[in-house]
């Protein structure tokens, strides 16, 4: 007996089982690793630069600033001009070769940073195209991440909104089994609307956002129509209710 038939069937099933969600999951994982790598490399480079020019390294503790100042040239002269600090340094004098090495590394770091931007842009496009309603409710960053956390759009669709509300807060959720209070929000906390309400209303706000997330993903997957304007209109009404709650107190 030949196993060819089984192989063909299994191949077909796998091909059918793959969807855009798998792409989203992989791209998010890739983007996360890139960011992790960037941070590690940045820390090391900043440390190395500290040896050479501590006065400047002290002012360049942010990654983006570090890259933009040092991208063209790493030597003390140009850096001191850009930052407007004294050329006099208590650091160790590096040879030209080592300064060259530093420049090369900063350039690589800058490339990594650009690559991550490209990945994220692509991710945003995919979300906008495939999940227009979810994109309207959450914004593309959180929308992608919430699909990643749920595993797939289908499993997100099946979740109650109370679970969507705490996606990304699994650690706190498990702690709550012992004694602590349950968490109020997971990745939804990063939503821009959450910034607009005081702390004590954030739980209520998360509840509203989660409810509309649930509605939006159902619309996206089941009816495949862009009804984002209707959904957003309803959502803003509910959000205003939450805001009024604040005035009452």
């Amino acid at each position: 007996m030949d196993n060819r038939e089984f192989i063909e069937k299994a191949r077909k099933k796998i091909k059918e089982g793959l969807s855009v969600d798998d792409l989203i999951r992989k791209l998010i994982a890739f983007s996360d690793s890139l960011e992790k790598g960037e941070n590690t490399i940045f820390e090391q480079l900043n440390d190395l630069y500290f040896l050479y020019y501590p006065e400047a390294a002290d002012k360049l503790k942010e990654r983006d600033k570090f890259i933009s100042v040092l991208r063209e040239s790493c030597d003390r002269k140009s850096t001191s001009q850009k930052l407007g600090i004294s050329l006099e340094s208590m650091g160790f004098d590096l040879d030209d070769e080592e300064i060259q090495l530093l420049s090369l590394s900063v350039n690589e770091l800058s490339n990594l940073s650009d690559l991550r931007k490209v990945v994220n842009d692509r991710l945003n496009d995919i979300i906008k195209k495939n999940y227009p309603n979810l994109n309207a409710v959450l914004g593309s960053d959180i929308a992608a991440r919430i699909i990643y956390l749920a595993g797939s759009s289908h499993s997100l669709l099946l979740m109650p909104s109370s679970k969507i509300q705490v996606l990304g807060a699994e650690k706190a959720m498990f702690a709550a089994r012992k004694k602590k209070a349950t968490p109020k929000y997971g990745v939804i906390y990063n939503h821009e609307l959450m910034l607009s309400v005081p702390d004590k209303l954030k739980g209520k706000m998360a509840k509203v956002i989660a409810a509309y997330t649930s509605l939006a993903i159902k619309t996206d997957v089941l009816s495949k129509e862009d009804k984002s304007s209707v959904i957003m209109e309803k959502m803003l009404k509910d959000i205003n209710k939450v805001r009024k709650w604040n005035l009452k107190e």
Binding site: M1, N3, F6, I7, K9, A10, I14, L18
Partner: protein
């Protein structure tokens, strides 16, 4: 180096330390990075106990089991095919191993393995629903299950009812932590064995520590 037979096609390779090996049925290619030994013109593949629960059982004292050339095996929870490749060695080119796996990414490796190991029959499906593949899988001589799910005992019984010939062996890897995290592992095993007693004789129970954590292997014979 000398070989000591355990069952057909499975040997201890005795050197300074003993190494479990299977006689390769499909040439000298390594499947998952295991060592290949070439002795007297025959090719043997190392069977690593940290990677395979079945291998760990041999290291923990299993010295005989009813599996041989030409057998049909149903393997649930095939994953990427690590253990499956050794089962495929044991049953030889005349045997058939039906390997069921639900996770697509794992199944891809399994399919690629089946392309050159012609006695592996990959099935992408859910072991909870044996009806889905009952049309294409015949009655088998051995049922091996390693699925690490809460309802793994029910899955085992369901599949054994449908596919295992009576009087034949079922090998059942119990992961106690998937069934119940909080209870005592021995208690969990006892409960599972109680469920199995109605339809199986329990021949052996092997705790796989230290090769596999929280795992036991049950060797059962269908009544």
């Amino acid at each position: 180096m000398e070989l000591k037979r355990i069952i057909d096609r499975v040997y201890w390779l005795l050197d300074r330390r003993r190494t479990l090996v299977t006689l390769s049925a499909y040439g000298g290619d390594s499947v998952y990075g295991e060592k290949i030994f070439n002795l007297n013109g025959k090719i043997y593949r190392e069977w690593i106990p940290y990677r395979s629960k079945f291998a760990a059982a041999f290291y923990k004292g299993l010295n005989g089991i009813d599996i041989k050339d030409g057998y049909k095996v149903l393997y649930l929870g095939a994953s990427s095919g690590t253990t499956v490749s050794h089962v495929s060695d044991i049953i030889g080119i005349n045997g058939q191993v039906y390997a069921v796996e639900i996770a697509e990414e794992m199944a891809v490796n399994l399919i690629l393995l089946a392309e050159w190991r012609k006695n592996i029959f990959p099935i992408v499906g859910d072991a909870r629903k044996p009806e889905d593949y009952s049309g294409s899988v015949p009655k088998c001589d051995l049922l091996y299950q390693d699925v690490a799910q809460r309802d793994q005992t029910d899955i085992f019984i369901k599949n054994a009812d449908l596919f295992l010939k009576s009087g034949k062996i079922g090998v059942f890897a119990v992961k106690t932590r998937s069934i119940d995290v909080s209870s005592d592992p021995r208690e969990v095993i006892r409960n599972e064995v109680k469920k199995l007693r109605a339809k199986f004789d329990v021949i052996r129970e092997i705790n796989l520590y230290p090769y596999q954590k929280d795992h036991s292997l049950l060797i059962l014979r269908k009544k």
